[in-house]
């Protein structure tokens, strides 16, 4: 083993990103909890963690930039650093989404409770599961776990669409609960974004581990193609042989 210092720097970068991931995951869970129990003190915690996430985002970007400039990484090291940069941005956005949800919870504080046709806790559980699983895939460098996250995104998208449909109907028909419905709609949208960021993280893990770019791949039936972006490994020896013998 050579390049011990470089390997140590890669390990440090991964550790920093895991701290960031822990904060982002905690922020979204707290925001969901704040919604569930309508507790503004939890909203304060979310606001504070957003500041820490923003600071860490800059630190991680700088560390990744230093490694690109100083070490000229190649192949799996290069893919790892590019993935870290992208995942870093997605985690920061997860923090933003958590903040956005907690802001909605604050504004709902003054409103009367309303029975709305949307299951925010179920959607939140699914989105948070996607974040947790995508980060587990990153920690373990497991492309299979990452692929399982991709298949979960459609369910959250469908729930968000259904929420949009039912909540806009409520807004049109029951004006006295329109503000509550609008808040719920915005929370639904934030959770859908969280699921999108988890999907991005999973795609980046696949890129890092397998070198396959699976972004924006849908099969003809509209679902995800499980083998998207995977090109078969070339038969090196066969390719190297002269065409005509």
């Amino acid at each position: 083993m050579t390049r011990i210092r470089f390997q140590q720097s890669l390990d440090d970068l991964k550790e920093k990103l895991l701290v960031m991931a822990g904060l982002a995951e905690q922020a979204i869970q707290r925001a969901i909890e704040a919604y569930r129990v309508r507790d503004l003190s939890i909203c304060d915690l979310v606001s504070r963690s957003e500041l820490a996430i923003n600071r860490l985002e800059r630190d991680i970007d700088q560390a990744a930039l230093d490694l690109l400039a100083m070490e000229q990484p190649m192949a799996i090291d290069l893919r790892f650093i590019l993935s870290v940069i992208r995942i870093n941005a997605d985690l920061e956005r997860v923090g933003d989404a958590a903040k956005s949800i907690s802001d909605r919870v604050r504004s709902m504080e003054q409103m009367a409770a309303a029975d709305l046709p949307v299951d925010i806790p179920r959607m939140a559980t699914l989105a948070a599961d996607m974040v947790r699983k995508s980060l587990q895939a990153f920690i373990e460098g497991d492309a299979e776990v990452a692929r399982s996250v991709l298949t979960m995104d459609d369910a959250v998208d469908a729930m968000n669409k259904a929420a949009y449909k039912s909540l806009t109907k409520v807004m049109g028909e029951q004006s006295h609960v329109a503000p509550q419905a609008l808040n719920a709609l915005m929370i639904s949208r934030s959770l859908e974004r969280v699921a999108d960021h988890a999907t991005n993280i999973a795609e980046d893990v696949i890129f890092w581990v397998q070198g396959a770019d699976v972004r924006h791949h849908k099969s003809v039936t509209g679902g995800r193609d499980p083998n998207a972006g995977l090109t078969p490994a070339p038969a090196v020896v066969e390719e190297a042989k002269p065409a005509a013998e």
Binding site: T2, Q72, A75, I76, V236, K241
Partner: protein
């Protein structure tokens, strides 16, 4: 214009040491192909087989087929003819120290019996322009010796000397490893221009250089070609773990 190179079942030995084992690959015409690998892996031996320099060593031998265009170089060609068609540039610039810049460029032509002054003048100008040295030496062609130039200029003079005999293939064995970064950039820029006219095979220990200049890259290890693919593939997502370990600096 450059021609493609087809290598089939190439094996080479130094004495009893089997230095190249069953090498098969197609080197495309008018592109730069980089050969990488740790010291002693066989890449320089491979390049020296491409112009039959390997066999100039009395204990060395090679078997297999190498076709430079239509020419089967181990079957129906004389070494002198091969070396006219396959130019070579070495790690350390090696101009003839007592000869002028002009005489350095035409040394190969004179060896081949050319003496027409106008042809020689035209060749010197064309070769020095192609090696991006003309503007720096055009006023001192016969006044200065090759050895009076800087290291980077000497290497470009050697490239001009190789180009003067109008080859189809240019072999470069670590052509910039003894040069400073600016001279290295000039050589790399030159490779970009030259590959429109010649097929270039470059041996390098500099991974970034291979990634910058070559369309194809081959990785040698212990006398075997482990992987040969597009440079993009080799440096972003190689198929073989050994290639990845080497280019990421895990060994070698």
């Amino acid at each position: 214009m450059g021609v493609g190179i087809e290598v089939a079942n190439l094996n080479a030995w130094y004495g009893t040491t089997h230095t190249l084992q069953d090498i098969n690959l197609n080197i495309p015409a008018n592109q730069a192909t980089a050969l990488i690998g740790p010291s002693g892996c066989g890449k320089s031996t491979f390049v020296r087989c491409l112009n039959r320099m390997h066999e100039t060593n009395p204990i060395a031998r090679a078997t297999g087929t190498i076709k430079i265009g239509d020419l089967d170089i181990y079957k129906d060609a004389k070494p002198v003819e091969i070396r006219r068609r396959v130019g070579m540039v070495f790690q350390r610039p090696n101009p003839f120290p007592t000869m002028s810049i002009y005489d350095n460029v035409i040394a190969g032509l004179k060896l081949n019996g050319y003496s027409n002054r106008r042809v020689l003048d035209d060749t010197v100008e064309r070769s020095l322009k192609n090696s991006a040295l003309w503007d720096e030496v055009k006023d001192d062609l016969k006044k200065k010796s090759g050895a009076s130039l800087s290291g980077g200029q000497q290497q470009r003079l050697c490239i001009a000397r190789a180009l003067a005999v109008d080859p189809e293939v240019l072999l470069m064995d670590e052509p910039a490893s003894a040069l400073d970064p600016v001279s290295t950039s000039k050589i790399e820029d030159l490779i970009f221009q030259l590959k429109t006219q010649y097929t270039i095979v470059i041996v390098t220990h500099n991974m970034q250089q291979a990634a910058r200049v070559a369309e194809k890259t081959g990785f040698f290890l212990n006398g075997r070609m482990v992987e040969f693919d597009s440079t993009h593939k080799i440096f972003t997502n190689p198929s073989d773990k050994r290639t990845e370990d080497y280019i990421t600096g895990r060994f070698g």
